[in-house]
């Protein structure tokens, strides 16, 4: 008997295939990479790229890092939740379970692919911001930037897998992800700089990890700040959310299509047979 392929090799292969699937799904590529960029272009066109009163930074300096974080969260949270739930509906997860591929490697392939795509989304956003909107990158904050990014994306990937685990089927998943991430983005300094928020809004924003992700990442690009800009409280809080999400996702994750979605596909098949 020949040798088993190594775990690393398998993760690499699975990641590559997930990436391929992403690039061949134009809708996902558009919403992950182009859509957040449109906000940056719009916001700077509407508000101008001068210093925002009360914040002390320009429009792009405020919005670009937040939108980059939003794009990264979409690439991990939204894409993983929807993609995984649809794969389950299609029976792909069940097929994978019937092969020698260890389940954790399949999940790892999906997650690594999501992190990679999130990194591209962030680089695109910040690249445009630096090239066209006068945002600066500081070498002293690059390590904090990377660590914040990795922990944040890991947290949102775990939350995406949790949604995939709990969602009844793939059809309902976009509704779940949009109904969660969009309102939270509004209270998390992503779309609107909130100067003096009402207490309840601040509490909600502080509770969910998106604001921590955005604020910590934005600090790395703030021209007024000095030092390495490691915000360990935010990083730790995101890690806590991530760990809880991983535990719950592992507890509730299913590989089989739910009864309802299976029935739906069977009906379709019977309709074909009748013809």
């Amino acid at each position: 008997m020949s040798e088993r392929p190594s775990d690393l090799r398998l993760i690499w292969q699975q990641t590559r295939y997930q990436n391929k699937i992403f690039w061949r799904t134009p809708v996902a590529a558009f919403f992950t990479l182009v859509f957040p960029l449109m906000f940056l272009v719009l916001f700077t066109a509407i508000f101008g790229n001068d210093e925002i009163e009360g914040l002390g930074v320009t429009t792009a300096q405020f919005f670009a890092p937040g939108l980059a974080v939003f794009a990264a969260a979409s690439a991990s949270y939204t894409n993983l939740a929807i993609g995984t739930a649809i794969s389950r509906d299609n029976g792909i997860l069940k097929r994978v379970r019937g092969t020698p591929l260890p389940p954790w490697i399949y999940i790892a392939g999906r997650v690594v692919s999501a992190v990679y795509l999130a990194a591209i989304a962030v680089v695109v956003m910040m690249g445009v911001a630096v090239a066209f909107y006068g945002v600066s990158v500081y070498s002293r904050t690059i390590p904090a930037m990377i660590v914040t990014f990795l922990v944040g994306v890991g947290c949102f990937a775990a939350l995406g897998m949790l949604v995939a685990a709990l969602a009844p089927n793939g059809d309902s998943t976009p509704a779940i992800t949009n109904a969660t991430i969009l309102p939270i983005a509004f209270v998390s300094n992503i779309f609107i700089p909130i100067d003096d928020p009402p207490v309840w809004m601040e509490l909600i924003g502080n509770f969910f990890p998106l604001k921590h992700f955005g604020d910590a990442f934005r600090a790395a690009f703030d021209p007024r700040l000095t030092g390495t800009q490691f915000h360990w409280d935010s990083i730790g809080y995101m890690a806590l959310w991530g760990v809880i999400a991983v535990i719950l996702a592992a507890r509730f994750f299913k590989w089989e299509p739910s009864k309802g979605s299976e029935g739906k596909r069977r009906k379709k098949k019977d309709a074909v047979e009748v013809k």
């Binding site: 392929p5 292969q13 295939y17 391929k20 061949r24 029976g91 379970r97 098949k269």
Partner: protein, 300 residues
């Protein structure tokens, strides 16, 4: 030594008993068909053997493994062809075979598999552009990619048109000639008859008959039917034996000894210089046996 040994297998879903104590023993190189109507429990039984489902009680041993705990070692030795198409629609045919093939320690080359299932012209086509029959053939290739000794085929031709069906059958025959053991489920009688060395009929979670296509359900001993049209001027009471039924000048005999009865009837006719029009001798078809065994189960 048998490849699959199932003893007193039981599976409950809540209060519902889906599998009610079935026994199976399948030998190496055999093509074994589990035949039954929808909802009879055949897919549940196969999914337990594949390791997709846990059993409630009973013992299952496949290739020396308990499928419930066999894990990666077990899955390296089996091939599964699922009932429903389940592959990434955005990947191409050859990519999909690679994705699923690369996880096995030994695998068959992609080109060889594509040729085997006749998808050469679709090698670089996205899966979503394939017809239903082509997708099922791709499924078949995926079941073979790990070069397994045992292949599970869950309703391999459901939804196929007749020519795609013939093609799939010849692929399956091909595999069997390579010495692979095949367990297939089907609700098509002719499929089981055409492909299988042995058939078990499953109805309402139990195996109601088990045998070769020729002996299933006591088919070889079942009463044969002799039919012919009464010659002109001959009435039923003139015949040397009493028919089982008669109507509109046609008679039917039912007998355990068709040779003897046929001889009696034809001697009688030849002696009177009569021709027995429409003379036929029939054994019950597998379909008759099947319908009798599964009762009046509605076909959903």
């Amino acid at each position: 030594m048998s490849i699959i040994e199932v003893t007193q297998l039981v599976k409950n879903y809540g209060d519902l008993r889906a599998i009610d104590g079935i026994n199976l023993s399948i030998d190496p190189g055999e093509v074994f068909a589990l035949l039954g109507p929808n909802g009879a429990g055949k897919s549940t039984a196969v999914e337990i053997m594949e390791g997709h489902r846990e059993r409630t009680s009973g013992s299952v041993e496949v290739l020396g493994f308990d499928p419930a705990t066999g894990g990666r070692d077990y899955r390296e030795k089996i091939g599964i062809v699922l009932q429903e198409s389940a592959v990434e629609p955005e990947l191409t045919v050859s990519e999909v075979i690679d994705v699923y093939g690369d996880v096995f320690p030994k695998r068959r080359p992609t080109g060889e598999l594509i040729e085997l299932v006749g998808l050469q012209e679709k090698t670089n086509a996205r899966v979503k552009t394939l017809s239903g029959g082509q997708q099922r053939r791709l499924e078949l290739a995926l079941g073979l990619v790990g070069d397994p000794d045992l292949i599970f085929l869950d309703e391999p031709t459901t939804g196929f048109d007749p020519s795609a069906r013939r093609q799939a059958w010849s692929i399956i025959e091909n595999l069997s000639s390579l010495g692979k053991t095949i367990l297939l489920t089907t609700h098509y009688m002719d499929e089981a008859q055409h492909l299988a060395d042995r058939i078990a009929i499953i109805a309402a979670g139990s195996i109601v008959a088990d045998g070769t296509p020729d002996t299933l359900g006591g088919r070889q001993q079942a009463e044969a039917k002799i039919r012919f049209a009464l010659p002109d001027g001959v009435s039923v009471s003139d015949l040397p034996a009493q028919p089982f039924a008669s109507s509109e000048g046609k008679v039917v005999f039912s007998t355990q000894e068709p040779t003897r009865l046929l001889n009696e009837l034809t001697s009688w006719a030849v002696g009177r210089n009569l021709e027995l029009d429409s003379l036929s001798v029939e054994r019950p078809t597998l379909e008759d046996i099947y319908l009798r065994l599964v009762g009046d189960e509605p076909h959903v």
